[in-house]
Symmetry: C2
């Protein structure tokens, strides 16, 4: 682990890059004691009054714009639960991630941190965010994200045979994991909708929990979404007739990796997806469901954007978008 | 606020870009109840056992490498208290920040989030991080960062006359503010040292609280630091004879903005700096202290990398580095 690993790729020409926060609201806290806080050792104490108005529940977005754009619209990359936009950046073992993959192919990429995660920041809890945050031990994603062979596999560090996940970099992956709440869905959705209104129309590519926000944000802002790519979604849009109808002109690709049938929870999570896609189709929508192993792409975990064959998986997405006229 | 603001600048050619986490340790939590958690509405409940081993106290780093490098070494940008690497990215009003300024001039830039901030993530508190985090109301930086005219100025939204801070984008700045602890200095310093060992030798450019870590990390890893640029540092290196001697071959630039003499706290913070620089010089070190108003650059707040004249301030830094042979 010395200098950063660099793929042997040609230079990357950008028209621009930058970042912004979007969405959120003000929240007021009252009735707490004022403190004198020494913010740096030996420094000048500051009087910190926690009472007053806070700016909360915005999300963070970083964009990179290719000098020669080929995507018809921007590509928004929405992460899953307990994670941040780092999901899409370099892989834990230092290869290029999907952010770079799509940028190199001429997509304007917008990588974001949802409300409460990463550079979005989080608000006083339980005063503003209700309930307690959830923290994940090293054991949890190993056994739950189809890296290890299910419950009990962490104790012996037994990976699924044939996994594409770079298990030697598992600790580096766990450094990407951040706390999350289970009570902030409405705030996260509101900020995603504000993002769509600001940079849409766009393609939304969402992972795991991000499927919840992608489905619902697209249903609320259908004019701002040209396609939905759902990578092993763990949440979905609403199923009222109106909500399903809102998606009928938005093509959907749903991607699933390997080892699902042998997992304790993933057959049920996939079935919820299949039910949702069937309802969408019945409402006139168009959904393509791709099981990577059935395409001959084997060994993918829940974190397929980090797997060793992450470029082959990205190409399935890219080719699907190109076939829908969204890349030229 | 629709599409992102783009400076009318030429395209930016990169040799590569990416991110990684560095540093940290494992921490064990025990004796807490196991929970069934519904992570997404309507989903499949997960059994979350908070007991076990966590990967904690790493920091997050994103790098952009110019296709035509001109900096002799990488430039590491370290943020201040309650903030993240977003400090160096686009300004709150959407102009290019110092990240883009230095990248456009051929510096390899490494923008990081310290332990506990942003994409570095944070650990269970008070089990792993001691004490309570500090949250900042909208009033606090307005009155403490020399944007408004000191205590009481938030109520009337009175900015300092002649301020360069983009006050119309103050809410956007407050969206960048994140919680911080006052008990994690040792962990933050350890991760900064790990970063220096991984990507050094380098120039370290640190703001406010970052001055503490820049000074101490350079004292602990003097071979990895070619120059220190301290932007209104609020913390400093150690003052033992050995620690001061460690910096004697590392040139230091300290930058101060406007309105300091009329502030309640900043004269004392600056004086602590002047005392430290005097001690460094007495130990054989070389320190240049620049007061921007004395250079004819007026109106700068504590957040000078975001001020309207942020490029003029960056040029003072760039020219100083070039004069030290660190740019060709």
């Amino acid at each position: 682990m010395s200098a950063p690993a660099l793929a042997e790729e040609p230079p990357l020409a950008l028209r621009g890059m930058g970042s912004f926060h979007v969405g959120g609201r003000e929240a007021v806290v009252a009735g707490k004691p004022v403190k004198e806080v020494l913010l740096v050792p030996g420094g000048v104490p500051a009087r910190i009054d926690p009472n007053g108005t806070y700016q909360v529940e915005a999300m963070y977005v970083q964009y990179h714009l290719p000098a020669t754009p080929r995507g018809a619209v921007p590509l928004l990359l929405w992460h899953g639960g307990g994670l941040t936009g780092v999901t899409w950046e370099s892989t834990p073992d230092g290869r290029e991630g999907w952010q770079q993959y799509f940028l190199r192919r001429g997509w304007a990429t917008y990588v974001s941190d949802a409300v409460e995660r990463g550079r979005a920041g989080w608000a006083m809890s339980p005063e503003i965010f209700q309930g307690d945050p959830v923290f994940l031990t090293k054991q949890d994603p190993w056994e739950r994200f189809r890296i290890g062979a299910g419950p009990g596999s962490w104790r012996t560090r037994t990976a699924l045979p044939g996994t594409q996940f770079p298990v030697e970099a598992y600790d580096a992956f766990m450094r990407q994991v951040v706390p999350r709440w289970t009570t902030t869905d409405a705030a996260q959705l509101a900020a995603y909708r504000a993002l769509l209104r600001r940079v849409g129309p766009a393609v939304v590519l969402a992972h795991s929990q991000g499927g919840l926000f992608a489905g619902r944000a697209a249903q609320a802002e259908p004019g701002q979404v040209r396609a939905l790519v759902l990578v092993e979604p763990a949440g979905f849009g609403e199923t009222t007739p109106e909500a399903l109808a809102a998606l009928k002109d938005i093509p959907v690709l749903a991607l699933y990796g390997d080892f699902i049938d042998q997992d304790q929870r993933w057959p049920a999570i996939r079935q919820r997806g299949l039910d949702f896609y069937a309802a969408l189709r019945a409402a006139g929508g168009q959904v393509d469901v791709v099981s990577l192993p059935e395409r001959g792409i084997a060994g993918n975990s829940h974190m397929m954007m980090m797997d060793r064959n992450n470029q082959a998986v990205a190409q399935v997405v890219h080719d699907w978008l190109a076939a829908r006229g969204l890349w030229r």
